[in-house]
Structure formats: C-alpha cells, structure tokens
C-alpha cells in the first residue's frame, strides 16, 4: 500500500506564483523517502498541502489509501510533521508543548505526560523539559519539533529539513533515531539539502525543481544511472608538465592535485597505469562530491538549461 500518493497536485499562490505544476508522488508504506530539490523548488509547499496547512489549487492526495479531502481527520491522525520553520509557542516549556500537541490528537493528559517524557528523553531534551522553549538552542528547537511530531505515534512522519543547523554529532544520532523508527515500521519522508544524508538514509527519492518532479526512483538505481563520477587525486610530488590521459577526462590540474572525470563502468586500473607511466605518484583519491550530490547538481543544471533554452 502507498503511505502517500499525490496525483497532479498543483498549487498557485495568491500572488500568482505557480509553486507546484501538478506533481505525482508515490511513497510506499514502510519507505524512507527523500524529497529533494533546490531552494524554492516547491518541497515545503507540497508538504504544507499534504499536512492541511495550505490549500491546494488542483489534484488529489491519498494517505494510506484514504482521500485527504473526504477523510481529513483520519489522514491527519496518521501524519506527524516536522516543519521547516520553528512553529511552537516559544513561551511554553517543551513538556507542555508535547502534552498540548498530544491532546490535539486525543491523547489524554496522563498518557500524554508519559509520552512527552519518553520522546523528550529519546531526543536528548529531557534536561530542558521545564524551561521555556525560547531558551533552547537552534538544534534543540529542531529536536523538539521532532519529538512533537512523534507524540501521537504517526505512521507517516514527514520531516522538512530536520537537520538544518544541527551539529554533526546530533545529526548522526538523529539519523540513527530515524533509521530505527523506520525499521520499526514508520514511513518517513525527508527533505534535506545534505545529500549524503539522503544517500545514506533513504531508499527512494524524488527530485523536484521548479514545481515539477524531474527525476524519481530508487536511490541505488539513480546513482547507477549517473553517467560520470569525478575524483580528486592528491599527488606525492608536484607535477608541472601537462598530463596526458586517454579514456579519462582531466578537469583540472594543480601542482599537487588532479581532478578527473570517469565514465561509470570504466575500470580505474588503466588510469593508474597511465599515471604511473608518466611517473606520477598518487597518494590518495576521493570522490569530488557525494555521488547523489553530483547527480543532483547535474540534473538541476540540465533542467535550468532546458528551461532557458
């Protein structure tokens, strides 16, 4: 079953700006799904409509097989949202914020208090539970929103850039937390600008640009479709002569560093053989960017070109 399905979902804001041009999204139950796209692509707009915060202009949405328009209360009860912008009452305490949110989903106070403590603890906010939310750091505020989104135990969790401004250590622990949650059965939809995050967490992805889905599918499959990869090679000794490579593209050459583009499927052995023949000693090698990132950048770039053409 699909946890989420949108058909020709479109949104034109009052200003006349067309933010979504009729997108079709399908997220399987149990999936860990990445919704990627550059700033202003329409990700938050789509999420806002799915979570009943925005009115759509056209199209339809199903949550676990139920139409959102005709079954709004049921659909809402299935979804937990971590929005992009801070949207809790900063004069409240984290504990009260969670208890209140639980109450809105029909969870009575006693049970809500237990859950609030449980989720505050698992997001490492227990110590701060009784101080006003205004005094939390930026990363803590994000974690508070994650805890709040979970308090009614939704089957579909939607996170709009949950790790923006979160330090590396906490980000990693958040990844672990989300992976465990997903493994336990929660369907997760994530938007992020950290593509290594999407690559390591998500199984499926849709890339949205200018209000349209420009690519979607399994992460693995998209990556295998990426035609080229760029590598950065660090050299043992400075090289000043121009290097000659057959079958590989030399993008840039600095005395101690080469950047080389390799077609997917091409063996790297020959590259090293050619370099060795020219007396070049390679100390280390790494991907120029994370693979998904490279794929993403090319795609968005192509999209830009085809739009201006």
């Amino acid at each position: 079953m699909n946890a989420l399905q949108t058909k020709a979902l479109a949104k034109t804001y009052g200003s006349g700006l067309v933010a979504l041009k009729g997108i079709n999204l399908e997220v399987q139950q149990g999936d860990f799904f990445a919704l990627l796209g550059p700033n202003g692509a329409g990700k938050s707009t789509a999420i806002g409509i799915i979570c009943s915060l925005l009115n759509k202009t056209a199209g339809s949405i199903e949550i676990f097989g139920h139409d959102l328009d005709s079954n709004r209360e049921f659909c809402k009860s299935q979804i937990g949202l971590v929005p992009q912008e801070i949207n809790f009452n900063v004069f409240e305490t984290p504990r009260n914020i969670l208890i209140t949110q639980a109450g809105y989903y029909g969870i009575a106070r006693r049970e809500a208090s237990t859950r609030a403590d449980e989720y505050l603890a698992s997001l490492d906010l227990y110590e701060k539970r009784n101080q006003t939310a205004r005094t939390l750091s930026g990363g803590m505020k994000r974690r508070l929103m994650v805890a709040r989104a979970l308090v009614h135990r939704p089957k579909l969790l939607i996170l709009d850039e949950p790790t923006a401004g979160v330090d590396i250590e906490i980000r990693r622990s958040m990844w672990k937390f989300l992976s465990d949650l997903n493994a336990a059965g929660t369907t997760i939809i994530l938007t992020t600008h950290y593509l290594e995050e999407a690559e390591s967490l998500c199984r499926n992805v849709a890339i949205i640009d200018g209000g349209e889905i420009v690519e979607s599918g399994a992460v693995e499959e998209l990556l295998s479709r990426a035609m080229v990869q760029s590598f950065v090679l660090d050299l043992a000794e400075p090289v000043s002569v121009e290097i000659d490579l057959v079958g590989y593209r030399l993008i840039s050459q600095k005395p101690r560093q080469l950047e080389i583009e390799v077609n997917t499927g091409t063996s790297m052995n020959d590259l090293f053989a050619q370099l060795a023949a020219q007396d070049i000693n390679v100390l280390s090698m790494r991907n120029k960017a994370n693979r998904l990132e490279e794929f993403f950048l090319r795609l968005v770039d192509e999209n830009k070109k085809s739009n201006t053409a």
């Binding site: 915060l53 809402k76 109450g103 809105y104």
Partner: protein
C-alpha cells in the same frame, strides 16, 4: 482508532487548559488592569460624582452603574483574550499545531471562545468583588445574571476570533476594540439610562447590541431594565448564531490562516 468525538473532547479540554494557563500566566497584563480601572470608575463616577447625581431609574447611581462596569470588563476581556490568543497563535505559527491535528473547526472555535469566556468571567468576578466595597446590592435573579454574562462573553469572544482571523499585524488587533467596542460599550448605557436621551438618540441606541446586554445584566442584578428582558436574550442569541456561523465559515475556508 479513537472515535472523532473522543479525540475532539480531549482536544477541547487541552485547548481550555492551554487558554486558561495563557492568561493566568500573564495575569499582571490580563487580570489586574481591568480591576484597577473598575476601582477608578467606581470611586470617581460612583462615589464622588454619583453622590451629586442622586438616583437613576430608581436606584442609587453607584448601584446603577455597577452592572455596566462589570459588563464592560467582561466584554473587553472576552474579546481581547480571544483576539490576542488566536492572533498570537497565528503570528507565531503555533496555530499550525491545531491545523495539522484531527481537531474539528467547531472545537477550534469553541476552544478559543472558552478561553475568552473564562477570562471574561474571571475578570467579571474580580470586578464584582471590587464593587462590593462600594455597594451592597443583592443579585435579584442570579440565574439570569449568569446566563446573560456567559452569553455576552461568548459573543464577544467569537468576535475576537473573527478579528484575529483577519488581523495581519498587532495594530489590526486593537482597531476594533478602540474604534468599535469601546464606543458601543460607553453608549450602551453603562452610566445612564437610555430613557434620559432625546427620542432620536434613544431610537439610535436601540441599534446598539451592547445596550441589550448591559440592560439584561442590570435586570438580572437590580431587577429593572429599560425594556423587556426577553428582547435582550433574543438579540444576544441572534448575534451569537450569526457571528458563530461567520467564524466557522472563515475557519472552514482557512481564510486568513491558510494560503
């Protein structure tokens, strides 16, 4: 899944708790000022000036104005609680906590209105307590008094929600109270009986809904009114139904809250 009724019952309780906590937490801004102004009105108009006025409608002047002063506090506080709570939630975006949840719009409206009524009644009770230092009136018809005050605060709390729906800035929150509410209350016969007015102005006053509320309340307390008490209740109920429907329509459409 829990029934929608069960969910909404808990949601309503949650909203009421949150609303009451909100205005009691900032009680210095919400509860104290109206008590102080009531104290001033009663001292200046009631005691100092009132002693020279003598009787109004067969009552001591101070006794005559007490119901109106309580009612004025109830009206402004119900209204301003609803408008500032709703607008605050909208402005800081935590209204979204309600919008994403399976809370019915009737409950959303009822929750904010209940908050307004709670503050209106709390302040009303405080002002009534203050007035006991000045008068020793006994309430003639307690049930009717309570009915009128609850209905009136409900009505103005609904008005506050509607105001907040349209408000885009904090300025918009004070326009209606300053330019509509205050004049209507002052002209609603707090300090005088409309019978004292020239015929023309007496007729004009009949279009002021606040007049019916203050008179209804005064009738409950003193046992006398400028006109039939059933009219008062009817006018208040009609306004509640009309404004309540408008508020639900706006919330249902998401006007002012959803783009």
């Amino acid at each position: 899944m829990k029934s929608l009724l069960a969910i909404n019952t808990v949601a309503f309780k949650t909203m009421v708790v949150r609303e009451v906590r909100r205005f009691t937490r900032i009680w210095v801004q919400t509860i104290v000022p109206p008590a102080i102004s009531a104290l001033l009105y009663l001292t200046i108009f009631g005691t100092l000036i009132g002693s020279r006025i003598g009787e109004m409608d067969g009552h001591r002047y101070i006794d005559f104005i007490v119901p109106g002063i309580i009612m004025m506090a109830v009206i402004t506080n119900s209204y301003s609680n609803a408008v500032s709570s709703f607008f605050g939630a909208k402005f800081q975006h935590y209204l979204e906590e309600l919008l994403v949840a399976p809370v019915h719009i009737v409950v959303i409206l009822a929750g904010f209105v209940a908050g307004g009524v709670a503050r209106g009644l709390a302040v009303g009770a405080l002002v009534a307590a203050v007035s006991l230092f000045f008068t020793d009136i006994t309430v003639q018809n307690p049930l009717l008094t309570i009915l009128v005050v609850v209905l009136t605060s409900t009505l103005f709390a609904i008005g506050g929600v509607i105001n907040a729906v349209f408000a885009k800035s904090f300025d918009d929150v004070s326009v209606i109270p300053n330019f509509v509410l205050t004049p209507l209350t002052y002209l609603g016969g707090i300090f005088y009986s409309v019978k004292m007015l020239p015929d023309f102005w007496e007729s004009v006053s009949m279009f002021n809904p606040v007049l019916y509320m203050i008179n209804g309340f005064r009738y409950g307390i003193l046992g006398s009114s400028d006109f039939d008490i059933r009219w008062s209740l009817f006018v208040i109920l009609v306004f509640i139904v009309v404004l309540g429907s408008v508020a639900l329509f706006l919330l249902n459409r998401g006007i002012g809250i959803k783009q």
